[in-house]
């Protein structure tokens, strides 16, 4: 995983709230056995029209969205299923941070394991960002701050998730280092059960 410190990029804005994982990537694209190449199906139901052509009014299809690495979305982003295909699709499309007023639990857990920074800002900053499509936004993970025209907002993030994102390390390594404690726990449970 690539370390994440500070990222400045144009932001794509999806002003809807409650964007669920079925919108992020519909279930019919979950039939693969790898995690690569899902970016083309990101927001597939909104992004393409009935004929499969790009929908002209969808922000991700705007020429200004090209190369954007930050997504700003309405509150309760990522609700619904546990599919990690949702952050995989966002990352494959190039996104490294999602900014919202609230983010669903499982999606947030999945995002940090894929180098995608979940950024929850206060409502005022969120409103300003939602009203400013394609402006340059900076997500500063070290300072835990979002900066954009008219916006300077602190954001909270779990210290452990932040460390992993800053270092680009995955959490499995940390868990594997706990194996002696896990073995001891298993042994104590066996003693209790016999």
């Amino acid at each position: 995983m690539e370390p994440f410190r500070t990222l400045t990029s144009r932001a794509v804005v999806l002003p809807r709230r409650d964007i669920d994982t079925d919108q992020i990537i519909p279930a019919r694209f979950l039939k693969g056995t790898t995690r690569v190449g899902l970016g083309r199906w990101l927001f597939a139901g909104w992004r393409y029209d009935g004929t499969g052509a790009p929908a002209s009014d969808f922000p991700l299809n705007d020429p200004l969205a090209r190369g954007a690495r930050i997504l700003v979305a309405g509150a309760n982003f990522g609700c619904g299923s546990s599919r990690e295909h949702a952050p995989w699709a966002l990352v494959d499309q190039g996104f490294r941070a999602v900014i919202s007023a609230s983010i669903a639990d499982i999606f947030r857990n999945n995002a940090v394991k894929n180098g995608l920074v979940p950024v929850v800002v206060d409502e005022e900053a969120h409103r300003t960002l939602l009203e400013s499509p394609f402006v340059e936004v900076t997500v500063d993970l070290e300072a835990q701050e979002v900066r954009a025209p008219g916006v300077q907002a602190r954001f909270a993030i779990d210290p452990f998730a932040r460390r992993c994102l800053l270092d680009g390390t995955d959490q499995l390594g940390f868990l594997l280092a706990q194996l002696p404690a896990i073995t001891a726990y298993e042994q104590s449970r066996r003693r209790e059960e016999t």
Partner: protein
């Protein structure tokens, strides 16, 4: 024995504490031990690959149980009982799971096997789902198992790899919320109607960061299958998990199940399980109270499970919504659903009825649907599918002749699986068509591109099948609710 000076603890606290391998600190989450890891074909292949890439083995295949459900076809089996997988991508997913389970010596219930079915149906059926256990699966509806007083929640594929490799998860302690349901549900008002009301009250993000514990007279009166329906949709309120403290209803359900303890071990387990409850006055971070006696058969009208109303009610008017973001969301939902503000829900024409899923695909659900369909016909032009949640459910339903009720009514009787709840296997609602579905999500496109989903109980879904429109099941069923209590 509990000491009198021990602080009052919640059921959640008890399960959490007994599974802590390492407590959380400011810098690091807790290491939580997992008793049961359920695995299916869609969210596991990348996790097995991750283990292979790092040269890791599955640590506890004995605590891992796999089945096939999401991408399996439900088309009725051939004369020789064969089930043909025509979708090549689905075939690869199923083969991959088979290979991964063989390599890691994980118990797998493959397509067509005696105990195959939806992962959240077979866990309880086998007696693997037990009070006090921690249960996870790469599936958000893992909350279902909380009906037994197990701490059960959905995880992503990276976490599936964590559990495969270490049998543990890194977790921050969630908050707890008590959802106290007083009174009794009325005739034809079911656990599905109750959970839709709870989601509507909390909002679809109202449970975020919380484990919900359902308590109160109405919850105590529910059967295990109804409690599973209730806990199943906890995630639709944004909650991590739902819990019901185990009681005699739980123990009666579990007794004699293939994996339930037997003999002296059963007595020992009962002793442990009886202590699994929240103490009087135990602190919850939030509490909500709901009066069950006021509820009515309920349907969703919008594009998330929080947008619901009594089936006898009307579609709300966005003009009355003060908050602009909420107004736009409602306008957009009604446009997608093809509904007019203020129109009555009853009588709105529908095209498809789906009875099944991990929410409502169990025997009591099929009995409820059959109680409406017996001696009646599915309306012309309506396609009705009945999809049992597992092979066991299918066998039991056929032993009672329920399949004949469905077939004689003009409904399809299919093989078990997730089917039209998620539409991965080709069972889809056509674009622009309206479906009454006993499943759990009415998100845009959930049941197929452009599909319009109305979530409801099996009774309400069956009533809609007969009427060809949204309908009140109380007009078709006499006497008390048909669901087994």
């Amino acid at each position: 024995m509990e000491q009198s000076e021990t602080p009052a603890r919640t059921l959640f606290d008890r399960i959490w504490a007994s599974h802590l391998v390492w407590p959380e600190t400011a810098d690091a989450p807790a290491v939580l031990f997992v008793d049961v890891h359920l695995v299916h074909e869609v969210t596991s292949p990348q996790a097995f690959s991750a283990l292979r890439e790092r040269g890791l083995r599955v640590r506890r295949p004995d605590l891992t149980l796999a089945t096939m459900d999401h991408s399996t076809p439900t088309t009725p089996a051939g004369a020789a009982g064969e089930i043909v997988v025509t979708d090549p991508e689905c075939r690869v997913q199923l083969d991959t799971l088979e290979q991964n389970c063989r390599d890691a010596r994980i118990e797998l219930h493959p397509l067509g096997a005696e105990h195959q079915g939806i992962v959240h149906v077979i866990g309880p059926e086998l007696g693997v789902t037990q009070p006090g256990r921690t249960i996870v699966c790469g599936d958000s509806h893992t909350s279902t198992h909380g009906a037994f007083g197990a701490l059960a929640f959905g995880i992503g594929t990276s976490e599936v790899a964590h559990v495969l490799a270490t049998q543990c998860l890194l977790q921050r302690r969630p908050k707890t919320m008590e959802v106290r349901v007083t009174g009794r549900l009325g005739p034809c008002v079911t656990a599905k109607d109750l959970i839709l009301e709870i989601i509507s009250r909390l909002g679809i993000s109202g449970g975020t960061g919380h484990v919900l514990e359902y308590s109160g007279e109405a919850v105590r009166a529910l059967s295990m299958e109804a409690r599973m329906t209730l806990c199943n949709m906890s995630i639709e309120a944004g909650a991590r998990a739902g819990l019901v403290a185990p009681d005699d209803t739980t123990f009666e359900y579990l007794h004699g199940r293939p994996r339930a303890p037997r003999g002296p071990a059963w007595e020992a387990a009962l002793g442990r399980w009886r202590s699994l409850r929240s103490d009087p006055g135990a602190p919850f971070e939030a509490t909500v109270e709901i009066d069950a006696s006021r509820l009515e058969p309920t349907v969703t009208f919008g594009t998330h499970p929080g947008m619901s109303a009594p089936v006898t009610g009307r579609v709300p008017d966005p003009e009355r919504e003060q908050e602009p973001v909420a107004r736009r969301a409602l306008e957009s939902a009604l446009r997608y659903m093809g509904l007019r503000p203020g129109q009555p829900l009853q009588g709105h024409p529908i095209d498809v009825v789906f009875i099944g899923s991990c929410t409502n695909g169990r025997l009591s659900d099929l009995r409820a649907a059959a109680s409406v369909l017996r001696g009646r016909r599915v309306a012309p032009r309506v396609r009705a599918l009945v999809v049992p949640g597992s092979r066991e459910v299918k066998r039991a339903a056929e032993a009672e002749g329920l399949h004949r009720v469905f077939l004689e009514a003009g409904a399809e009787w299919r093989e078990p699986g997730c089917s039209m709840c998620i539409g991965m296997n080709g069972d889809q609602v056509p674009p622009g068509r309206s479906a009454v579905s006993t499943s759990n999500r009415n998100f845009e496109g959930r049941q197929g591109p452009g599909a319009r989903t109305f979530l409801a109980s099996p009774l309400t879904a069956a009533a809609a099948a007969v009427a060809g429109a949204l309908a009140d099941p109380r007009r078709l069923v006499d006497g008390p609710a048909q669901e087994r209590r």
